[in-house]
């Protein structure tokens, strides 16, 4: 299926939109009618055809517009992309991983031709055609990590592994759920997760770290995480909180279906071979409530999850004040019928919404 790239914005007039195809493949994160933290990791080795799990780095209809938004964020604030000096090798690892994956997974969009260290990279959607020398930074317009992450959807944390811990020593972070690379740079796994409520007490991070330290070459892993965003904003950073935080007060019962978005992160984890670092791509998918409600199973389930979510989590995820209005809206899509297990939409087998 040929991809049509949307011409859309994630700021000001917010012309971002999901096609019917994009809604159907949206990574709805709840596999049952309630939610609590878990180390919900699985292997990242493909998935159902056309699902976001199918390719190593999913490219969708938002690709070109997302890359345009990233360039704007970086122009305003270069500190969104940082790499400590010892992380350059990991940057080359990441560049190689993405170029090889994309050229193999999307041969009609990306090409990589290698002759020893002489590489030729073609990115058709972005109109890039570059020749460079692998491992020679002077032959690229940016460092290797910045070069390739300006061409790949999702944020990228590049984590050094040492002393039985992971260290946030490089990254490109422009589509984040309210955390800052500039603040977290150089921190270890426990330090940068310190603000998360409840999970520490449950020992989640000790187990998650142990799992991540043992991720091996050729065996990547993945999980989903989620939060809520008013308006389809990619850049919900602390640096720009003064711009987007206030928008949370603009919700009304009339506009909530269009303005309130479920924000889902596909988090993947790859061991990088030459540096032994770990790359942690965080890919953000947005879907308006009114689009989610076109899937009856998701309508029923989202209402139940949001209704029963512990207060600490609703506060941490930043929607405690809007929860009553969300529930008023969502309850109209919950007729009390049971839902099937798993995250998939099951449009053919789940009954349509019962009308009163």
């Amino acid at each position: 299926m040929t991809l049509q790239f949307n011409d859309e914005t994630f700021r000001e007039d917010y012309s971002f939109h999901n096609s019917e195809r994009a809604i159907k493949r949206f990574p709805f994160p709840f596999d049952k009618d309630s939610y609590m933290y878990a180390v919900n990791m699985e292997q990242h080795r493909g998935g159902p055809s056309d699902s976001i799990y199918e390719k190593r780095f999913d490219v969708d209809e938002h690709y070109v517009s997302e890359m345009r938004d990233r360039a704007m964020v970086l122009a305003d604030d270069p500190l969104r992309c940082q790499s400590l000096p010892h992380m350059t090798l990991a940057g080359w690892d990441l560049l190689e991983l993405i170029m090889v994956s994309k050229s193999e997974d999307y041969p009609d969009l990306f090409e990589l031709h290698r002759d020893g260290d002489k590489w030729h990279w073609v990115n058709k959607p972005l109109g890039i055609d570059d020749h460079f020398t692998f491992m020679d930074e002077t032959t690229l317009p940016y460092g290797p990590m910045e070069y390739i992450t300006r061409q790949t959807q999702g944020d990228f944390c590049v984590l050094d592994q040492r002393d039985d811990n992971l260290w946030m020593d490089a990254g490109t972070i422009t589509t984040q759920a309210d955390w800052s690379l500039d603040f977290d740079i150089g921190m270890n796994f426990f330090e940068w997760h310190a603000p998360v409520p409840l999970a520490h007490e449950k020992g989640i991070f000790v187990r998650a770290l142990k799992f991540l330290l043992n991720i091996q070459q050729s065996a990547p892993a993945r999980r989903l995480n989620w939060t809520m965003t008013v308006n389809p904003l990619l850049d919900t950073s602390p640096e720009n909180y003064h711009k987007w935080g206030i928008q949370k007060t603009s919700l009304t019962p009339e506009n909530i279906g269009a303005k309130q978005h479920l924000r889902v992160e596909l988090q993947t984890f790859f061991r990088l071979p030459r540096s032994n670092a770990l790359v942690f791509p965080i890919r953000c998918y947005l879907c308006a409530f009114q689009d989610l409600m076109t899937v009856p199973k998701w309508g029923r389930r989202l209402h139940r999850v949001i209704r029963d979510l512990p207060e600490e989590l609703a506060t941490y995820k930043g929607f405690i004040d809007n929860r009553p209005m969300m529930l008023d809206y969502l309850s109209k899509f919950d007729d009390g019928l049971p839902t099937s297990n798993g995250i998939w939409p099951e449009i053919d087998s789940e009954p349509p919404l019962k009308s009163d």
């Binding site: 010892h86 090798l89 491992m135 091996q216 070459q217 050729s218 065996a219 030459r274």
Partner: protein, 320 residues
């Protein structure tokens, strides 16, 4: 399936280096390129020796960026359970084997201002790959390599001819020894130490570094333990609902695998922590041999590393 991803390879060279050490070269069966890796990584080699399958870790010594082949060097251990003897006596050019993807538990700290490597005997192998990696990045390194004798000094000629200023060799039979205190006191701030060799050498280097006030994080070491033979014992596996016998010549992990239990593992040498198993009940004594659990955990009777540790006594029930 437990362990790192597997790669099917063919043995393309078997090169005896001296009385004890032989080098093996592996290339992919399907003709594709092997993954790159980082200096200090090992591969786990599967050996089908009659009815017994052994999985032993060996450090990769080839250039980490060379994707055409991996090489390992294996020291023959006449006292061991036979993994190295199998490689020396039964593996020849053309054989097909299974090895694992590279796993690195002995990685360079790329922040280091200088990398100081201390190797003993066959412990030279990870240093060889680390040196290749550092040379490519114009890294600052220095090697101190202790061997038993000139005849057993694997790769001494290669190292001293390619890096005459950075390699220092010491021969035990000529009573040469590394002057560790002097060596440490001359290092610039930001130096990281990597030691690979026999247990005594690792303990000596770690002890001296601690005594001289070096930060713990600046001292890196790797010692793969081979499982040691011992008295047979019986184990009850609660989750699998099986009672298994661990033979004299096999490890607890191997006995579980032989019984069809897919137990997690990675290094099989007591270092990585992957096979850690909870003890539900026991009457008897543990013979802990791993580097993973600390002294308190060893004496608690709550955990065991089945890749290298054993048990003597009446009852052992594991959460597996």
């Amino acid at each position: 399936m437990s362990g790192a991803e597997k790669i099917a390879v063919r043995v393309t060279e078997v090169t005896p280096l001296n009385d004890l050490v032989t080098r093996f070269r592996f290339e992919r069966l399907d003709g594709a390129l092997l993954p790159t890796f980082s200096g200090g990584a090992h591969t786990v080699v599967e050996m089908k020796d009659g009815d017994v399958t052994r999985l032993n870790p060996y450090s990769l010594m080839s250039d980490p960026f060379d994707q055409t082949a991996y090489t390992i060097s294996v020291r023959r251990d006449d006292e061991g359970r036979g993994g190295s003897l199998f490689l020396h006596n039964s593996v020849s050019v053309g054989d097909e084997m299974i090895i694992s993807n590279p796993v690195n538990l002995f990685s360079l700290d790329l922040r280091a201002k200088k990398h100081l490597m201390i190797a003993g005997g066959i412990g030279i192998t990870p240093s060889l790959a680390q040196i290749k990696q550092l040379d490519r990045a114009h890294g600052n390194w220095e090697l101190h390599y202790a061997c038993r004798s000139v005849a057993l000094g694997s790769y001494v000629d290669y190292l001293t001819s390619t890096h005459p200023n950075d390699v220092n060799v010491y021969y035990d039979d000529q009573n040469q020894a590394i002057d560790l205190e002097n060596l440490f006191s001359g290092q610039p701030l930001g130096t990281h130490v990597y030691v690979c060799g026999p247990k005594g050498m690792i303990n000596w280097v770690r002890g001296k570094a601690a005594e001289l006030g070096w930060p713990r994080e600046a001292i890196h070491y790797e010692e793969f333990l081979a499982p040691q033979p011992g008295k047979p014992f019986e184990v009850k596996l609660a989750v699998s609902n099986k009672v298994i016998q661990v033979g004299e010549q096999e490890s607890l992990l191997e006995a579980m695998e032989r019984s069809g239990v897919d137990a997690p593992y990675l290094c099989r040498g007591g270092a990585c922590g992957m096979c850690e198993t909870r003890v539900i009940d026991y009457t008897g004594n543990f013979i802990h041999r791993d580097h993973w659990l600390d002294d308190e955990e060893h004496s608690s009777g709550e955990k065991i590393m089945p890749c290298v540790s054993r048990f003597e006594g009446k009852t052992l029930v594991l959460d597996r």
